[in-house]
Amino acid sequence: MSLTLEIAVTHIRGRLRQTLVSILGVTMGVGFAIAMAALMQGSQDDFVSTLVDAMPHVQITDERREAPVQPADIAFGAVEWHGLRPKEDIRGILNPTAALAALEAWDPGAVSAALSLSGVARYGGTERGVTVFGVTPKDMIAVSTIEDDMTAGALTDLDGAGFAAVIGERLADRLGIEMGDSFDLTVANERSRRIKVVGLFRTGVVATDEGLIYVRLKVAQTLSGRQNAINDIQIRLADANAARMVAARAEAMLGYKAVSWQEANESLLEALQIRNIIMYTVVAAILVVAGFGIFNIVSIITHEKARDIAILKSLGFRQSDIRGIFLAEGALMGGIGGILGSALGYGLTWGLGNVRFELEQATEITNLPVTYDVLHYVIASGLALLTAGIAGYLPARKAARGNPVDIIRGAT
């Protein structure tokens, strides 16, 4: 063992009880920090994965990010214009065949092309505004969880069923229709059609369950009188985290706005980020409090050992040697506390992860979602070591700077 460490250990041994209390402080701090991080990260991961699962990873629509350049700008170099009727935009992704072919060649993941329209559904005297989503069933299934949400029939029942639709349960309730019934659907100014209900779904999202109708892509195109048109491409990736990159590339490739799930949920993710910042602040605060304990005990030891410090200096120890001794004491306490705290944190996390409870609504038994992430252990122990190091360094520096002559004089 190095001399520095050996002297540090003798100091700690001489103050064993206080030292153990300090170590215990660090242990608790690290342990609870890890358990808290595991719980927060766990619930966040759980939440995000539910979120990501329920939505397209990348959605390309027929919008452009920049407002379209108006002919007036080009013709007259106008800086601003008022009261001018802008050029009518025929909505839809231009040249959809080429766009889809390009995506297919790139193959970022499962791709589903759709035509999304607003329409009005009527049955009896009831009328409701709806979103009509024209899809290719097998493609839509590949990019979404719609299969899991079906309560009657299947999305693939649309295939070969002519003018048929899969609608939300709530919409069916509102209209007062059931499986097998038919209702009238009008899109834009086109002719109304009778549509037969071949499937029902419930996602749990009210707006969707009340206002979404799936039809075949061809049906949507016929309803709107826009053959071959699509205005919505959804992509599902094997790795959801690649969505930003894929969206950026798709946008550059096609020229249309491509939104990753992260962008679509920016404010939500920001809120989670803030939650994390709050969490780490609390963790840091806990460890700073633990650091006070270490600061305290190392300060006591430097005072107690003032004579030893002076004599070591007279023997030829440098200030940095003296600093090293007390820094080592702080680091030892922080390090031991970090190791014990990691064990405690693991135990707490395990315990929390095994708490079983029944949600009132759901029938299934759930566990608290926890995450075991090495990073949490590294961060918590690292912070503990850092605060302990600082807590040891401050008194160490003071002790090392002192003039040995004053102490030797005072002692004789």
Binding site: I7, T10, G316, R318, I408, R409, A411
Partner: protein
């Protein structure tokens, strides 16, 4: 006789609202193999001078040279390095580390210097302690030793890195006459057999008279410096 330590017009003033002059205008040359007594009334600056000679303290004016090398512009680390291998300190109180055995205490300066391996250090430390009559006490901690034995361990620790200069501040001041005599003989042996220089502050005039050279301080100034017997003059009593 090679010059070991030299001071030139060394003055040490403690700053403050009322500055205190500890020592003033000290011109001193100490060669190898000298046995020097520093005497003087209490508060005359003997300890202060010793700290300056040992580079533990810095003069406010003047210069201390160790082996001809000026020390005033050395860094704290360089001065520590000179102390480590060039100077051994002995104080009135032993100042041993309470948690370490006699042997371990003696090994501390060796380990800091790190010139020889652990086994050699142990053998050498044991050797020194045996020479000082502590053969049976190597593994004892300071609280298991008598005052005289502790002080001998402190002497052994000062000798650990074989420094050419030993500075002692009333090394026998807290010992009974028997132990004092023992320690004195050891110091004499260090000078006469090992050729080291020993500069010792003492209140014991008989002891001072038996050393080779006497420096007498009054009010921070050297009033006499010469062969030991010379300053056994009435002014002392």
């Amino acid at each position: 006789m090679a010059v070991l330590l030299e001071t030139e017009k060394v003055t040490r003033v403690l700053p403050g609202t009322v500055p205190v002059t500890l020592v003033e205008d000290i011109d001193l040359t100490i060669g190898d193999g000298e046995f020097v007594a520093i005497t003087g009334p209490s508060g005359s600056g003997k300890s202060s001078l010793l700290y300056l000679l040992g580079l533990l303290d810095m003069p406010t004016e003047g210069e201390v040279r160790f082996r001809g090398k000026p020390t005033h512009d050395l860094s704290e680390e360089e001065r520590a390095a000179i102390r480590l291998s060039g100077i051994g300190f002995i104080f009135q109180f032993h100042f041993l580390l309470a948690e370490f055995s006699a042997l371990e205490n003696v090994m501390i300066p060796m380990r800091r210097l790190g010139r020889i391996d652990r086994r050699e250090m142990e053998a050498r430390a044991a050797d020194i302690l045996e020479r000082l009559g502590l053969r049976d006490h190597l593994r004892k901690r300071p609280d298991q030793l008598s005052g005289g034995q502790r002080q001998r361990v402190a002497v052994a620790r000062a000798l650990a890195n074989d420094p050419p200069l030993i500075l002692a501040d009333e090394p026998t001041g807290s010992l009974d006459s028997h132990s004092s005599e023992q320690v004195f003989e050891i110091l004499r042996g260090i000078v006469e057999e090992d050729g080291k220089s020993v500069v010792a502050v003492t209140h014991d005039l008989d002891m001072a008279a038996r050393m080779g050279r006497g420096i007498h301080l009054v009010d921070g100034r050297i009033v006499s410096d010469g062969p030991a017997v010379a300053h056994l003059s009435p002014q002392l009593s």
